[in-house]
Structure formats: C-alpha cells, structure tokens
Subunit: 594 residues, 2 copies
C-alpha cells in the first residue's frame, strides 16, 4: 500500500541547517517566522496532511470528478477536506496580510505545499491554482479587484483558475482567439472556449475566479495582443455578496490518465462579464506572475509523488521476503531475506531518495530566492536573486517532474507485479505524476525557455551568476579535505557546464536550430549540477554536525551525498557529448520520412 | 489518435537485407520459406493485424476483462478476433508440423508477433502464452500429452497458460507451496493457489491447458523440488473429446494499470487432475523452455508499443501547428508551423524510432539464433548460437521493455496535454507497456541473470563470443571509410564493454554484492552496444544499396544510424563510470535508515 509520513525532519534540516532560515527570514523582514513557529507549522501541517488529506487520495482516484448537467462533483470527501484546509488557515500562509494572508515566508509555504501535494496531488490543484491566481491579482489587479476578490481567494472561500489553452492553441498563445469586447460600464464581454482548465468548475466553493486570457477588439495579432480578465463564476452585488451566475459554463470534463479527482474542464464563456486586469494587451505579463508561481509548484509535484513512492517502496522492501542476500554475511538465516538487502533494489530506492532530497533543497532555495528578489534590503541581492529564480524556474519545472516520474516508476518496480495492481496505489502515483511533465508548459518548452530566453538574457548574466555561485562554494571548500569527495565532483560538473554553455552560445549563434537541438540535454546538465550543489552544501553542513549526532541523520546525509556524486552525477559526462551532437542529427530527416 | 500501419518495409529490410534470411532459412532447412512466401505472410499478416486486431485495442482497454461468478468475459470483440486469428492459421506459423504447425522460421513468426502485439498487447497475451506453452510441451511432454494436447493448442482451439507465482513467491520460486499428490492411476492431485495468472480463465476457447509448477510429496526443498504438470481446465474423455470440468477455479481477477483486456487471474487448484511433464523435480527446467520463449516476446512488447506510439506521434506532429520553426528558412509562412519542425520534437521521435529499428533487428537476430541453436547443420555454430541466445535473452527482455516504456512516454509528450487524455490512446500505450518491465521476471532480475549467471557460464565464453562477433564486424569494416562514422563508435563502445566486463569479473570475485550493484548498468551497456551493432550492420547494408535507391529508404537508414551513434550511444560513457561506482555506495545505508 502507498504510505506517507511528511518528511518533517528533512524539511527542518533544509530550512534551519542548510539555508539558515532563522537568519534569512529575519533579514527578509519575516519577523514572526521564528524557529519555534516554523517548526510548529511543519509539525501541524504534517499531521493535517497525513490524517485529513492523504486518506482522500486513493478513493478520489477511483471515483474521479464527475460532470453532471453542467456541474462538476468532486470525489466524496474532497469537500470536507477542502473545508478543513481553509478553516485551518492553510491556504493563507504566505499571502500578504493586506489581502488577509498570514505573511509567512514562501519557503515555509513551499514545505507545506509539498506535504499537501504528496497527500493528494489531484486535490492540491484546487488550492494550488487559487494561490497562483492570488499572486497574479495581488501584483496586477486594480484596488477594486483586489478588494472584491483577494481576501476571499486568500482564505480559500473562493478558488481561482487560469484559463489559457484553447483547442488549437496550447504552447503557442499567439494563436489565441477568445475575444473581450468593451461594454459601456467599463466591464468586458468575454466570448470563447478554453480547454484543459484545471478546476474550471467544481463543488468545493460557491464561487471561482477565472483569470482568462482574451483579445480586445483592436488588439494587435500574436502574443502582444492578449489581455487578462477576471471572469467570476458568479457576479458580485454592490455589497460584495454573491449575485447572479455569469456566462461561464463547463461543457465537459476530460477522462484522463491520472489526477482523476481534479476536474479538467472545457469552459465556454458566453458574453461573460469580465474585468480587465492590468494594462490592455499586457495580459501575458500578468499571467506570468501566476505561471512562475505555478511552475515551481508543478515542479514540486514530481518530488511530492516521488516522496510517497519512495516511502511506500521502502515499506514494501522491508517487509517482502524474496530471494537470499548475495553476500552470505547479510543473510537472515531464514528461507528468504527482505528484498531491501538486494543492491539493485537499493539502487532504485536510493536513486529516488537522493533526487528527492536534492529537489526539496532546491525548491526551498528557489522559494527563498523568490522572496529575496522582492524583499531583500540590498538591491544587488534582489537582482541576483531574481536572476537565479529566472534561471532555475524552468530547470525545476522540467527536471523535478522528469526525475519524479522516473522515481515513481522505479519505486513501482520495487513492488514487482503488485506495483501494477491498482489496490497497491503505486500505479496511481505514476499516472498522477505523468501530467506534471506536460502541463504548465511541456518540459521541452522549458528547455527552450532556458536556452532560448534565459541564457541570452542580460548578455548571459543569469548563467554567469549561477556558475559564480557554484565556484564560490567550490573555492571556499577547496581546502576542506573531508568535503573533497563532494566538492571535487561538483567542481568538475560545473566545469562541464561552463564548457557546454560556451559551446551552446557559439552553436546557437551559428544555427538557430541548435537552440532546440541542445536544449533538453543542456537543461538536464544544469539540473544535475544544481542537485550536486545541493548535495555538496548538505554534506558540508552534515560534516559540521556529525560529531554528537546520535540519530545518524547527518551520517546518512553523507551516504546519500556520496551516492549522488558517484551514481547519478556521472550522467553529466555523456550529456556533454550528446548535447554537442549538433542539430544536423535531428534536422537531416525529411518530415515525410518520419 | 493512436494509429498503426505494420512496418512491413522495415521487416523486409531486416529479414532479406540485413540477415540474408533467404540464404539462412535454406541453411536451417526451412525449404518452404521462400522470399515470396515470406513477403506474402508479412503483407497478409499486416492487413490482418491492422484491420482485425488493432480496432479491438481501445475498446478492450475501456471495457476490460470482467469476472462474473467464477467465469471471465473478455472485452467485446475479442472472441471474434481470436476466432479470426486461429482460422487464419496465424497461431501455427512456427510450430512443428508434427504438432500441426506450419514449420516456418521463428524469425518470420517474430515479425508477425510484433504486428500482433502492436495491434493489441492485451489480446496478444492469450495466443502468446499458448505458443510458449506449446514450446514447453513439445520439448518435455510425453508422447501421450503431446498427442492429446499439442495439436489443439497449436491451432489455437485451446489456449495454454503458465502458472508459477503464488502470493508469497514471485521471483523466488524456491518458496513455492502448491502440492501435487500422486494418485493410483498415474495422475496427480494438484492443490494450491496461484496469482497473476495471465489468461488463467477466459471465454475465448472451450479449454485451457495450465502448466502448473508444484511440489511432489517427497520433493526436496527449494527450486530443486519443483515439478511441472499439465492441468487442463476441462478433462479429456478417452476419445479425446472434452469431458468434465477439472478442479480449476478463477477466484478473482486483478484491477490493473493497463493490459486491462487481459485477465490476470487468481487461480485455485482444488484436487485438480494433473499430468506430470518431464521428470519429477525438474519442472523449473521444463518451464524455462517456455520462459525463454516468453522473455523474447515480452521484450518485443516494448518495441511493439513504442512502434504504435512513434507512428501516432509522427501523425500528430505533422498535423498539429503550434509555434514557429526556430530557423526562419524552415517556416511555412503561416501563423504557425507543424511541430515536426522543432528539433526537440524530432529528438523525441527519433529516439523512439532509432531504438525501435535496432530492437526489431535484434529480436529477429535472436529468433535466428534460437533456430540456429536447434537446427544449424554445424555443431559449433549451434553452440555459438545457443551461447548468444542465452546472453541476449535477458538483455532483450529488460532493455527493450525499458526503452519501450520510455519511448511511449516520449511520444505521449509530443501530444502535449492531449497525450494525457484517454481518448487519444497514447496513455493506454504507456499503461500497457509498463507491465512488460515487470512480468516474466522483473528487469532487475534479468540484469542479475546476465551478470550472475550468464557472465560466469562456461568460464565467460558467452560474453567472449559476443565481443568476438562485434570485433569481427569492426575488423572487416576497418578499411571501409564510408562506414567509419558507424564502425568507429561501435568499436569504442565494444572496448568500453570489454573493459567493463573485466572490471565486473574482478569486482564480483571480490564482493558478491557487486553482482547486483553493477548489474543494471552493465546490462544497459551490453544493450546499447547491441543496438549500435544492429545500426552499424544496417548502415553497412544501406551504404551498399544507396545507389539506385529511389525511395530514400537506405538514405534514411543512414540518418537514423547517425542519430543513434551521436545521440544515444554516448550514454555508454557515463555507464562505465556508474557501474564502477562500487557496491559500497548502495550497501552503506542501514536498512532502518531508508
């Protein structure tokens, strides 16, 4: 069976030990985020997610969301779980107090979010998108819109959704056709059909705020003619209470591979009343506030599913006896040993775990960078944090979901035939995790974003800063002999990344197709190196704390770091070969010859 | 939508051009297998699979097999499809004429099998297991058993299934508990419960022959006390007609991630009448005749699903317009270009295809080796063929299913969000393909088989012969300048494999845990090199046929070979690092610390 205990111990390590959050939170003006409060929130959040949310995961997949006469019913138990989530104040952790939020650090909210996404990924999408919509509305909405909508979205009383995709236009938003026509009263009539709208209709709340991308009548073609609108499911009366329904209809929901408790809706907007958010024709920029937030959350889904998969596979591998240990010294003396004695079973488990712990650290670092970019007292530090965030967001979105899916499959494999049987819960993790590689921009698009947009930005400043960050760590570790088994491989990988970056920059200048030809391997190279950086930093902390460590926690961190450096990081060697194979290997075949 | 046209052109290339089957078939005494007959069978087989079997695939997944009052109903359409399969004589292609078979080469049957498995993997399991059961019964059954059962299994009038797994015993058959008690009439009373019995009960035929592993009363413990029994669902009267039901009951079927049209049964044998096959306590050896056959077929499932996934993704990538080509010269002048212009989309498609064509060649080669091991006039050649078959079987089973699953996922990714929606058919391919990595021995077990059993066998003769085969090709190609872009990387990969083999042999002698610690990476290294060998040989043929090639077929083969050498084979570089990371990286963590 799938089992889950929130990895609170590791979260505390990442926050307190690895990133010294106590100091950092204070530096960023989060005065209330004392160590005690942080720990209490993690402990309570863990209990809440394990006991209230996780039990809804399997039944929710079996029952799925149902479309009945234009309404969507979420699986049994989702309404109660959602109510408990909002009543516990879990929705509002990191939101601005001005909007009714608790004003806590994003890094702390990121940890809670991991627990929530582990407990039920399909369920977590409803509040997850709501928080992203709050970010966009907070940043770009008029005072009136913020006042009318934000507090009730921050609390979770209403949900928020993002509405971009249309049948003929997914990645390429320039093709978007939904129209918005100005009315005399300053509102807009929104007309069009959107597909793949996660949570577009449901029964968890009385109202849902749709952030819809549409074209104004006089809009220029392409992405420069897209505006963003608030289109509520139900209109507000002047006193702010809920009034009539708006022209917002759910035509159907999709039958999907996974996240079946999440309603993926076809939405029709039929002269729906919309309110412009931000400037006309600048809707894509507004939506990016939401998307950058969601991209980290979607990246985290890979980790969240892989964490449950790992824990479940460990429980099975400890209990299932089958075959004898290869090394006689490890045998139990019974007819068969628990399969956790087998090196190849351990390879699968350790691969999942070493990636999970690195991903967790990287996500928390990213959350700290997002907060630093906004709140750090030093402008130079704000700029640096913004640069690293921009660089790491596509890397996290794509790589964490890629390895996360692979990790779920490795952990399913540990179960043998039982992994393939629905009642054991492992195959649901695989099916659920698969979507994270696709939505919020397919992973190949993020690779293109990295190479095509982020690398050239500010004359290469983003990658330069990233490499400087790695170099600084390697330099300060150079004389630390105990750390060298971690810092030396990191330095080598950083060197490969530097060389590959030079190769990519030259190749892209020569042939535009090289951007797409090398992008996927290049992203993976950046990601493997980022994970190595997280492990080397973790190892440094662990070495410092090793003495007096009775729990074995820090010793095990070093074991995992070692595993990562020796068994996973070496993949960077072949990536430098394949990414430099050149575009011709991909472009030579005629389209007709495929 | 998932689409499928049998890759007959490529099969003809592999048979006629690559392996010179005309000459080889004659050499092995397959006098009837003339080129014309071979082509006619491929052409007719393609039509049959595309038109009769493939249409049952999606509905079969939606409806699934159903368990009702101890009986299993296959999805609508399966009965008619099965009847057409048997009436067309497709079941009997490669069976011995003495058993009612057509006596055609296994390599030809292997090609038909690919088409059948592409068209409906869940359906293909019923006849596929039957053919495996025929192989075992042909090799080990008494004259009476062969006479009573084989002709009606060969024709498909009855099916055959293999019954190994029990709730507490999958990989580790030594733990098996099903008992067989001798009766006075020379039969046995079989008692026990088996799980995961594919096709254990169904409505396609009136009778099913269960090959059941069980223990005799006086059997020694462990795998040396296992015997094999024929346990028919219905007993035969003296005149050979169907008589009473036997004590064979289907208690339930599993709800699975995929292959939902295939009934995966819990079977109870309650004093069922069984007939001993072969010698007492030698049942595992008998079952291996079937398992070695099935392992190649299961390996082929990875290719078969990946082929459909590839074709479907190509069709989508040609039609779906989204975004502009990176290189302005490739743009269509419309608002968006078909996504097949994007290098990263091509990376995904070409990865699937380059692996598919190599896997197809490798499977046909394996089938030729199986036939050669049995029928080649030269004893030395029989031995060599048996050695290579033994070495390649685990490699094919594990690697073709691994890459096949990955390829299905890559091709699903090409569809973006639509790939995740059931009606497009891509997610079914992923769900179906996943089982092939698990059943018929989980892939990690095959890696252990390769390193722990096949490498040391006959003092390393198997791998030596394999490397000699690669060396011979590289040596004879050394002076061929046009071939060097393929033969040089192959030679380098073979060199890495030779070094890795030496490392593995030394490591395993030092520490038994190294067997399992390096096995997975080692298997992958062997597999990538085998694929490179198939591509280098294909390139050699293509170069020779390039002149006068109006279709572009041979030019495209060279493009694919180039892609493989530059983009996929380099992965061997990092594998040599990771496999030599040593067992300590896996064994250091205490079981409690996971």
């Amino acid at each position: 069976m799938a089992v889950y205990k929130a990895p609170v111990r590791d979260m505390k390590f990442v926050l307190h030990d690895l990133f010294e959050s106590d100091r950092r939170f204070a530096e960023l003006g989060y005065d209330e985020a004392t160590p005690d409060l942080v720990d209490a929130i993690l402990d309570e959040g863990a209990k809440f997610c394990e006991n209230v949310i996780f039990p809804t995961n399997r039944p929710g997949d079996r029952q799925g969301a149902r479309h009945e006469h234009g309404r969507v019913r979420t699986p049994d138990g989702f309404r109660e779980a959602y109510q408990a989530l909002t009543e516990g104040g879990w929705m509002a952790l990191a939101a601005d107090p001005a909007d009714g939020g608790q004003g806590l650090p994003g890094a702390l909210a990121m940890c809670f979010e991991e627990m929530l996404q582990s407990s039920n990924m399909a369920f977590a999408l409803y509040p997850g998108l709501t928080r992203g919509a709050c970010v966009a509305l907070h940043a770009h909405g008029s005072e009136r819109l913020r006042r009318d909508y934000l507090p009730r979205m921050v609390s979770g009383e209403w949900t928020g959704v993002m509405c971009l995709t249309e049948p003929h236009c997914g990645t390429d938003l320039g093709l978007l056709r939904t129209r918005a026509e100005a009315r005399d009263d300053g509102t807009y009539a929104v007309r069009g059909t959107k597909i793949f709208i996660t949570g577009g209709e449901h029964d968890l709340t009385e109202n849902t705020v749709h952030l819809v991308l549409a074209r104004l009548a006089d809009a220029p073609p392409g992405v420069k003619g897209i505006s963003m609108f608030v289109v509520p499911k139900r209109l507000l009366r002047d006193d702010g209470s809920l009034g009539d329904g708006n022209g917002v209809q759910c035509a159907s929901i999709e039958h999907k591979m996974g996240i079946r408790g999440s309603a993926t809706c076809v939405m029709n907007y039929e002269d729906a009343v919309g309110y412009l958010v931000g400037e006309p024709n600048r809707g894509l920029a507004c939506m990016f506030s939401m998307m950058n937030h969601e991209r980290l959350l979607v990246g985290q889904q890979g980790l969240a599913q892989a964490e449950v998969a790992y824990q479940s596979a460990v429980a099975y591998a400890r209990e299932r006896v089958q075959g004898r240990a290869l090394n006689p010294a490890r045998r139990t003396g019974k007819a068969a040993d628990p399969i956790i004695v087998h090196p190849d079973v351990r390879r699968m488990l350790l691969t999942a775990r070493a990636n999970n712990e690195a991903a967790r650290a990287l996500l928390v670092w990213a959350a700290l960078l997002v907060d630093s970019a906004e709140r750090h007292p030093d402008a130079a530090e704000r700029e640096r944090a913004a640069d690293l965030t921009a660089l790491l967001t596509p890397v996290i979105k794509a790589h964490v979901t890629d390895y996360g899916f692979d990790a779920c499959n490795l952990c399913l494999q540990v179960f043998g035939g039982h992994g393939y049987i629905a009642e054991w819960g492992m195959e649901q993790l695989v099916r659920d995790a698969r979507i994270a590689q696709i939505y919020e921009g397919a992973n190949g698009i993020h690779a293109l974003d990295l190479v095509g947009r982020k690398l050239p930005m500010h004359d290469g400043r983003l990658m330069r800063r990233y490499l400087e960050t790695l170099d600084a760590f390697c330099d300060e570790s150079a004389s630390d002999a105990a750390l060298s088994e971690f810092s030396v491989p990191l330095k080598a990988a950083a060197g490969r990344l530097r060389d590959a970056t030079a190769w990519v920059n030259a190749a892209v200048a020569r042939d535009p197709d090289e951007t797409g030809a090398c992008s996927y391997d290049y992203l993976r190279l950046v990601a493997l190196t980022a994970f190595a950086y997280m492990w080397a930093r973790s190892a440094k902390v662990a070495l410092a704390k090793l003495e007096g460590d009775n729990s074995g926690f820090y010793r095990d961190k070093l074991t995992l770091a070692r595993f990562y450096m020796k068994r996973l990081l070496p993949h960077t060697r072949s990536l430098t070969d394949t990414l430099a194979a050149g575009a011709d290997t991909l472009m030579e075949l005629e389209a007709e010859a495929f």
